[in-house]
């Protein structure tokens, strides 16, 4: 059953990665979307060969094609999640005409995901995708904040400061004490 579930995952993963391409094409232009796919493919090949070398260094055997597919699946999911989160936030802000509440919601999404990614254990896919996706979302929301005036900037700066202090305190608690 597990193997069948993994096989059936691929059509959906193609849709997810294709949606990233479509959203990029819709937001910017189709040329940039093709450039993204080209760069993403190169990055995937580099990361898989790096994983293969790492695997060879530790076990003295090459990865089987099944293991390579597993790594590829992980990377496709990581890439899709981390790029779809900021696109999702962008359309969320658009849906509410970029009012202050929706921007704060975007900030909460970005900081929550980044924090979750920093503290998650034993799941690298969720860790990397949350950290990258959350960080991109925070950058996007901060860029949008500039147009909303000084109050929004104050709220965002305060939010960022609280999040940074909280995370640093929790992460560095053992080293500081």
């Amino acid at each position: 059953m597990g193997i069948i579930a993994i096989l059936f995952l691929w059509p959906f993963l193609i849709i997810a990665l294709g949606l990233v391409f479509v959203a990029f094409g819709s937001l910017f232009n189709i040329g940039l979307a093709w450039l993204f796919i080209f760069l993403a493919l190169i990055l995937l090949f580099i990361l898989i060969s790096q994983q293969n070398n790492h695997h060879f260094a530790s076990t003295k055997t090459r990865m089987t094609s099944w293991e390579e597919l597993h790594v590829l699946r992980e990377m496709v999911i990581t890439m899709s999640i981390s790029l779809l989160i900021p696109i999702f936030t962008r359309y969320l802000l658009d849906s509410f005409h970029k009012n202050l509440i929706s921007v704060i919601a975007g900030l909460i999404i970005g900081f929550s995901l980044t924090t979750w990614g920093m503290f998650i254990k034993n799941n690298k896919v969720l860790m990397y995708s949350n950290i990258f996706g959350g960080s991109l979302t925070i950058i996007y929301v901060y860029v949008q904040l500039w147009e909303l005036g000084s109050l929004a900037r104050v709220i965002a700066a305060a939010f960022g400061l609280i999040a940074a202090v909280t995370i640093s305190t929790i992460k560095l608690k053992e080293k500081l004490s």
Binding site: I4, L7, L9, L19, V22, A23, I77, L84, F88, V125
Partner: protein
């Protein structure tokens, strides 16, 4: 023998994929010309039908995958051509739904604490008297 079987499954899956795509595109084109039915609407219906068929006959996975990959192509083509015209709340919902499924997959299938990707452990041996 196993390689032959796998090749056969792959070929049949590929044939089903190509014919299902051809059927969808030709029918949508014919309907839009003869009965002025919306081309993209017809493709969407084909996409949904292929997904349903693919799920129903999941046990014959070569056939099922052929239908599901064809549905992927149809859905992506639809999105590529019409994504700009979809209102922002609907785009948010589409991307949100895909994100939810991706998170579920990442959570369920790729948890490194689970033994999903490890080779099966041998059954315990009976004690020797």
């Amino acid at each position: 023998m196993t390689t032959d079987k796998n090749s056969l499954k792959f070929i049949f899956g590929l044939i089903i994929f190509m014919f299902s795509l051809a059927l969808a595109y030709f029918t949508a084109s014919y309907l839009s010309k003869a009965y002025t039915i919306d081309y993209w609407g017809a493709l969407l219906i084909f996409g949904v039908v292929y997904i349903v068929i693919g799920i129903i006959i999941y046990q014959v996975y070569a056939v099922s995958l052929g239908f599901l990959f064809a549905a992927s192509v149809l859905v992506l083509h639809l999105l590529l051509e019409n994504f700009g015209n979809i209102p922002s709340p609907a785009k948010t919902l589409i991307i949100g739904a895909v994100l939810v499924v991706l998170y579920l997959v990442a959570w369920e299938k790729l948890d490194e604490t689970q033994s999903d990707n490890l080779p099966p452990t041998p059954p315990p041996t009976s004690p020797v008297n």
